[in-house]
Symmetry: D2
């Protein structure tokens, strides 16, 4: 437990602090709209980025300095050490949730049995640490994209054996998630997509994907897993076209295949922008369908075309995300999972700490500003006024369904030049956001 | 009728012709897979681009040379003249279909009544010309985006009066489409979208959009219009976010609002690529749902971020589009509408003719190559082989639904190292396409 | 002059004000780093967007409500009225500079002589207003893109007559800029670019562009115009490829054609992002070459691929822009020109006022934060530390040029495992910016 | 040498061949414009993609099947085996050139000395194989991006020791390139760029980059290396901003730092499109400055934002690239290097062969079509006609520099309404390309 000894427990010191190892805005027990900050902001550590990302990129090798991992260790020893450091890390950060893929926490063995045994060993350790610390599992998932068997997909592989293997792997991942009282289980279809339609039967692959999800629903019932299922949209990368392109595409799929009652969405900022949407949009699409489940809190670089998974530092994003969450009545089972990796040049262990502080502060500041906006109802009152014409007269008739084309034509003919519009006031609304930020 | 006097009737002269005013590949009565080219390729002229585009762009004024339009003419005179020239143009091109917005063919008057009277006058002329020439209406539509009343949308406007006006305008557009025996009616939601979520109630706006479409379905029944309704996806422009983003988004909307039995999709190449998809993908998404309706045949520039609406010249596109259409069993009510405008520098009337020739030749060549690919079943046989593992054994059980996670885990445990994948052969498949092109 | 009667002179009311017609951050005479805010922030009104933008877009007609323009007026009457309103507007806003294209202020006549006479009439009025108000001309320019004669470019047109006309037009534009004591003259090559290389001799066109600029330099000397020449980079739109793609491309051109001593850059935020760069980057590139001239202060939407020319509201942008300007020692001849248009839905005259307030407040807040960053030297001290290895030893020898490959190989051989790098601290630096924003 | 035993020497079988292991268009000794195909098309194998790419991507592990590499081998044994297979591969493909990074061919040792000894051992083997086969080195280069020491750049690292190491590494790479009679030496600045300007002194870094290149020029002279130096532009990835953004940026840098006489450009298709340009454009920019050096022949996916490095299959690209090369008088020292990797799903050794066949056939077909276009001078005659106005009268005076603004104003005043433009004929020109493709 001495690995992070030089790092203190991170405390709130307020906005004037120049201590890199202190929160400036995240004050866990501060009350916001009647709830504590930490109730609003169920931060989660992403096991993969924080404890397995070694800095490799398509052009370079490992760079991360992780003193707890020694060259002499075998992969199980490393896996065990990481559990201890991870929980020490979360304790020091005051992060109460985590998320993992099966393959993040334990190495693959030579056979599925051995792999599952490896998992069991590590899950024992994790369970102990969870009990000791009170830290909870936000969601678990299975990594169905790294191993070469998934080269052509998992549930959407043209190879039935790979489908079978995927099912077996998810079964185990669900079991350990269940055992660890995971509040949710996420499907991110890493290679569920295609490279070229020249060799792809898209309909068959999507049918198979739905088959797999129905099996998961059935199995959850069988084992009594009551956690929330999530699908996480992403438009591209690693495959050219990922089937879970964006919120609308996923919702379309869920509704078509009668899965909509069993799933919500886990929405990621960087995936949103890669699909050509704002994060705001993606959240709203889900919330309007009562399918807003959880959030992967990171950010991308809009001038780059790949998933940079940066720690969130943009206040406009954190404000609008927290506003959408408040507007939707809060996340229930979900949280704010830092699916974010330190920049490759931020290779020291201290950078891991600082990056999480930055992310937590960014969301804390975002929450405070969003809460003030919500409390003042500035935007909501403007909406009410803007759409008021549907509360009376012909507008009310349209909404109630009591008129059709003929009645509306009569109305239009008898009310010439009536269509006087009002300004959308975009610049004013944007300046109000700035005023809330700057105080 | 002398406006295009210098342009001859365009004839097929074969691939060696150097005559810019001749078809090199489009040979209307040539048989391909048992049908004539012109049965496969129901080309349609887009009234707006071909007869109303004057060359204005955000940085410049009119440039198009259109000798049939004289400064002394009023807007109705111009509208009348255009009818004659348009039909002369289609006759000379051998184009048997056209599409229009209401506002393309007749100018707006001071009142809706006057506007509708203007329409009636022009529709009389069009009807005459249709009888005379045998040219048919592929689909009609209403322009609900140019007039300033639509500044905040039409059916999705926050102003109920604008909704009413939109309904009235569509009613008339449907009536004239019905009168002209239109095979379809298209909804392209020019300003159905938003600029910023700060001032937008997206759910309410989408509900309203669905209300309008249901009214249209009801009214079609009432007047006996049996044509096919289409929605045309586009992701952005003019609004920041267009509600009909892409095929998946539209299908999601149609299914949610119980409209899916009444609509198909009209898919445009340039809109596809603006949404981050290949045209191929968008067509396949629709075809797999039996919702492939019609095609707007143009092309964009993938290095530019706006809708350039270029005439289609890319053979890879025309081959893949025609292949998807053949694979789907052909378009039924739909056709290939040249929603394309000549480049601003191609401002002469001759350029209009040449651009349509180029578009028709590109699709004719695309059809011939796609038909050969389909006939040889090269791609389809590869698919059958690639997915063969689902025809037997565990794969068959997966597809039939007779196994779940437990059975699949047992299978995976008892078949270690079974997941041997096969190469996707993308490079080989791409080279085969080239071989079909080059002959 | 009562057109804006309902709009008061805009006053600074401080950050708590809820008055849309007041500055919250822009306090003109407040001292920042020893200079007043208005000396730092030489705001300029863009005549074109603010007084000639009527709301047309590629899909719609005029929407802007401008009560000072009546249908009965001819184009010269409108031009005259606009002068009065424009200066009233600037006075009320406290904007001390403006920019214009020749064609913004006066309509084209039937001949170049008549056009120039129109200009002279309006320039007389402007000169009067400038004297009356003390408002100054930041820069003038010629519109060489709207008229159809420029369909294939101006100086880069394949038509020598168009080159000649362009020269004549610029000559007059320079003369009126000179007469109005313009501090600068800008070249934005609206259609200096190409649509397709299939019909373009790029080298010849670039040679011609350089010829034109040399003529301008010569003519400035002849008439004694001492104002600064600027080139404004933009990568695309209206043409597919604009020759002045980005800062680096323009600098390359200036250096190649021996124009570099006569020009600086006028850099626009939205053009920067369209070229794939941050605004920060574009400014730094210019500043590092001592070519940072002036700024077009707007913003784009990074999810859209065209020039949206939005009013600047993003604080991260205004902070980094003001920081680069402070770091470069300030703009000398240049200023901050709002090359920005109100959103199409913000069609009321009040929106014009509000949009400028928002822009000015955004830059004022940006300035204050950037000045604090600069004063504290947070970033600069970090840089000094980061590059310290070049201040001594082998680093110093590298910089001084006293070592070559052989010496460096010897050094590397004799210092194994020396290359210990330090973290780049990106997350920490980003969080510091947030702390400066949030206070 | 039996590793590729099942692969025959690839022969030309003509366009009707259905043999995946035969050329359909590449007929090495066929005469085109007086030279053999293989003289026009100096194909080069990229050692890294073809012999070291193992299929890792940011989401997955090795997938490539390479039977010549056994788990029991150490890294030098693998390096040795690869030399044999690589030359066998090139012989069978009829590829007469190759390119490599130092670290592709030999593994790093514990010290620079050991690393250099490893290199020497392998270079001995390569030299033997070159003599045996007659295969030549197109260019060599140093990998200054994979090792963790380059995490913050090489020549542009803030760490002087890293600069020193880089110089030492390049020295050796130049020496082995020289020993192997390399026709060129390439600089691709893998991490020469920045992640954020918050921590970057761009000017200092660029100065250092220039210092390094001058050292390279000096050292080449010293050792008598007469090969051509190249810089390879790329706009982003791995860093957010790569200093060698595009052709214009590189040329600007070379001219500023007096390096322009010593370098040419090595231009890659996928890098071109990532920078927002067509490949055509990038080649033309270089050719117009007499700086077109060599080509990295691959292709990207314009709907994806990262470097996919696909094997070239697009005929429009290969035609336009070969046309630019023919127009520029051919590549002299350079060639067509397949900086392309097989798709991750194309993991069999056979796919390597097929992918190279596809690339070679694509360029062969491109050459034949481009040569016909050039021979017929279709495009060039159009250019002459289009710019003819500069051959006489006022146009000639403009070009000769004998007129200025005053003369041109007089001309414009005395020639009213003269500026009659001509159509750019883009659609017609595009259709002509199709006709040349389809025959």
């Amino acid at each position: 437990m001495a690995y992070l000894y030089q790092i203190p427990k991170i405390q709130y010191e307020g906005s004037k602090s120049q201590n890199p190892f202190a929160f400036k805005y995240y004050n866990p027990n501060e009350l916001i709209l009647g709830k504590t900050m930490k109730e609003h902001l169920k931060f989660s550590m992403a096991y993969w980025h924080t404890f397995t990302y070694d800095g490799k990129d398509p052009f370079g090798k490992e760079v991360m300095v992780r003193p707890w991992e020694e060259q002499s260790m075998d992969s199980m020893e490393i896996a065990k050490v990481r559990v201890g450091v991870a929980f020490e890390f979360m304790e020091k950060m005051g992060i109460e949730y985590f998320c993992f893929h099966d393959r993040d926490i334990a190495p693959e063995g030579k056979t599925l049995e051995e792999t599952n045994r490896n998992l069991d060993v590590i899950v024992d350790l994790i369970e102990c640490e969870m009990k000791r610390t009170g830290i909870k599992l936000l969601w678990g998932t299975a990594n169905l994209f790294s191993n070469k068997r998934f080269v052509n997909g998992a549930a959407t592989s043209p190879n039935a054996d790979v489908f079978a293997y995927s099912a077996a792997q998810i079964k185990k991942a669900m079991e350990i998630t269940h055992r660890l009282n995971g509040a949710g289980y996420t499907f991110w279809g890493g290679r569920e997509g295609y490279e070229t339609l020249l060799n792809t039967d898209m309909k068959f692959e999507l049918d198979n994907f739905a088959r797999l999800l129905h099996m998961a629903v059935d199995y959850a019932k069988e084992i009594g897993f009551m956690g929330q299922f999530y699908i996480e949209p992403k438009p591209k990368e690693p495959t050219k076209h990922q089937y879970d392109f964006d919120s609308s595409t996923v919702i379309s799929f869920l509704r078509k295949y009668q899965l909509i009652d069993h799933f919500k969405l886990n929405i990621e900022t960087n995936h949103a922008t890669l699909s050509g949407h704002t994060m705001n949009h993606e959240l709203r699409i889900a919330a309007d369908e009562h399918l807003l489940g959880s959030v992967d809190a990171n950010q991308g670089d809009l001038l780059l075309g790949w998933d940079t998974d940066q720690f969130p530092t943009n206040l406009y994003d954190s404000i609008s995300i927290m506003y959408e969450i408040l507007r939707a009545g809060g996340l229930t089972s979900g949280g704010l999972n830092f699916d974010a990796k330190v920049r490759r040049s931020s290779f020291n262990p201290e950078d891991l700490v600082i990056a999480h502080i930055v992310g937590m502060d960014t969301y804390a500041a975002g929450l405070k500003i969003a809460a003030k906006l919500w409390e003042d109802q500035i935007l909501e009152k403007n909406l009410q006024k803007r759409y008021a014409s549907y509360q009376k007269g012909i507008g009310k008739s349209i909404v109630s369904g009591s008129v059709g084309f003929k009645e509306l034509e009569s109305y239009a003919m008898s009310h010439p030049n009536l269509e006087q519009n009002e300004t959308g006031k975009q610049e004013l609304l944007e300046s109000i956001i700035n005023q809330y930020i700057l105080g």
